[in-house]
């Protein structure tokens, strides 16, 4: 347990370093996509940075992470803040979501820096599962690394990628990759009004989409 505990406690410091101290602003930007009071599932909450932000805005949050060590740190962090409803933390991996929650259980499903750590097969499963767990009219918010659209920034991104990836591996023992066509993947799952907000010089995107709501057919 020693190293994982060490890893979990180092995670926050590592993330602050890797985002040049801007991780707090990214969490606020992501939480800004979710209306207060929503029933939210956060997949891969880690040490609870985004969870705290969501709970602080009055959302009812269920946060899951596969690492109990990360959740222990999240629990300590969340205990320090004053929220109307304290978030529910569950040790659960993505493939355990279907057996734990019913379809359509959440207004919003959100994940930050999770899909970029998954393989293509896992990513496909995670997106399918997230859409299943959304109620009709609910929103999916994915925040993650992307390739900048601007060619110059893309070159800078590639040039800085290797040392940053090596640093990330040393600090957090995880490796990641940028997401490809996440907007298209949301649309192909039937989500509507897919919008992208880019930050961090185009290398970080918040992509949000809405699951079609059931509509009454017009009466003749």
């Amino acid at each position: 347990m020693k190293l994982l505990e060490t890893r979990a406690s180092r995670y926050d410091r590592g993330m602050r370093l890797l985002t040049f101290g801007r991780i707090g602003g990214l969490y606020r930007a992501i939480a800004g996509h979710i209306p207060p009071g929503s029933e939210v599932l956060e997949i891969g909450c880690g040490t609870g940075g985004l969870t705290a932000e969501l709970a602080g805005r009055g959302c009812r949050v269920t946060a899951v992470d596969r690492s109990p060590q990360m959740l222990a740190i999240a629990a300590r962090k969340l205990a320090e803040i004053d929220t109307a409803a304290s978030p529910r933390l569950l040790p659960l991996s993505i493939t355990g979501l279907d057996r734990t929650f019913g379809a359509g259980a959440f207004d919003y499903v959100v994940s930050c820096l999770v899909l970029s750590e998954l393989t293509a097969t896992e990513e496909r499963y995670a997106l399918d599962c997230s859409v299943r767990l959304l109620r009709p009219g609910g929103g999916l918010v994915i925040a993650d690394e992307v390739l900048p659209a601007n060619p110059v920034r893309r070159v800078i991104y590639h040039a800085t990628r290797l040392p940053v990836a090596a640093l990330a591996y040393l600090l957090t023992q995880t490796s990641s990759h940028h997401l490809r066509d996440i907007d298209g993947k949301l649309r192909s799952r039937g989500l509507e009004a897919v919008e992208r907000t880019t930050l961090q010089h185009g290398s970080f995107a918040i992509v949000a989409g809405r699951k079609p709501a059931c509509r009454l057919q017009p009466q003749k």
């Binding site: 347990m1 020693k2 190293l3 994982l4 596969r66 991996s93 993505i94 493939t95 355990g96 279907d98 057996r99 393989t119 293509a120 097969t121 896992e122 499963y125």
Partner: protein, 362 residues
Amino acid sequence: MPSAAPEVTAARAAATVPPHRAWLRELVQLLFRSFPFHTEPGLRVFGTPGRSAPVFVTCNFDHTVRMVSRVLGRYDCYLLVAPTGGMNVWCASAGGHFGTDEVEAAIRLSNIEDFVDHHRLVLPRLAAPGVDTKELRRRTGWRAVFGPIEIGDLPAWLEGEFPHLVPDQVRFPARRRAAMGVGAALWPAGLIGFPAGLIEGWQTGLLAAVLGYLLSVLFALAYPYLPAEPGLRQAAALGGLLGAAAAGGAVVSGGAVAGPVFWGIALAALGLLIGLDFPSWSPTDVCKQQLLCFLYPATLAPAGFLPTVDEPACIDGCDICVRICPKGALTLNERSKAELIDPADCLSCYACVQQCPVDAIS
């Protein structure tokens, strides 16, 4: 084939890799054996499996998947590749990366339930420290059985004892020791060769690195026959001997004072690093060496863990722990209860604790 053809992730693509690229991949994965090499998790299909075809599970370490695929290619069967972070089966399972969650993930990611009518998985034996088979069955309805340790022993097991748990112990034959010697040499050769190159020029650095590889392979080959117990004492003795021999050799060859000092220190450090690190590469000592496993630390059991049997809870005559122990370190005593024969044989791998049906071992 089932009516709905399963999505195959990489099996057929792998078969089309040209020989020179396959050889290069083998070489790179051997030289950098201490790092994870991921392959896509999910479903692999071999032959034309029917709805009663066996379902095997393995890790997503590319080398392991290729080894397993070579054997499973002779059968009509399914292979589920679990997302274990690109790590090998044993390190992943003892380190908490190949457990119940990952087997559940392998089941869900592959949609295997659509293709077979049974619910029986064959897990790799060395996944026993991580996978709670009772919990797996509760979550998924799938019953797990453990195959033999070596994939090469799988055909005989399938023809004979399948699906029963057979006693099996880890082996470390010379060929594998040589391969592990090459893989393990990266750290000593790099840690000594690089600074040696900075101090004495690149030719000296290269020579030190080559010596590192040579010594590592020789140490690996001699490993089972060495007199001292693996660990600090063995490493210190090796470092001392090598350092003294190198310094002596440099003096005899008539170099300046700096020569004997440099080579004495360099070889002593090489010997110390090799002696300290190699036991963590050996399946006969691996999990005991927790402090030295930087990338794949065993995390389920605390360092120096030894199993304690709660005799009243232990089922009379149940020998699951005796069979599952990869070192044969457990036996049934005269009261038909499990007992650790010799603490020195225990690897602290946690398999007995995890697989006890009544949680009587802790």
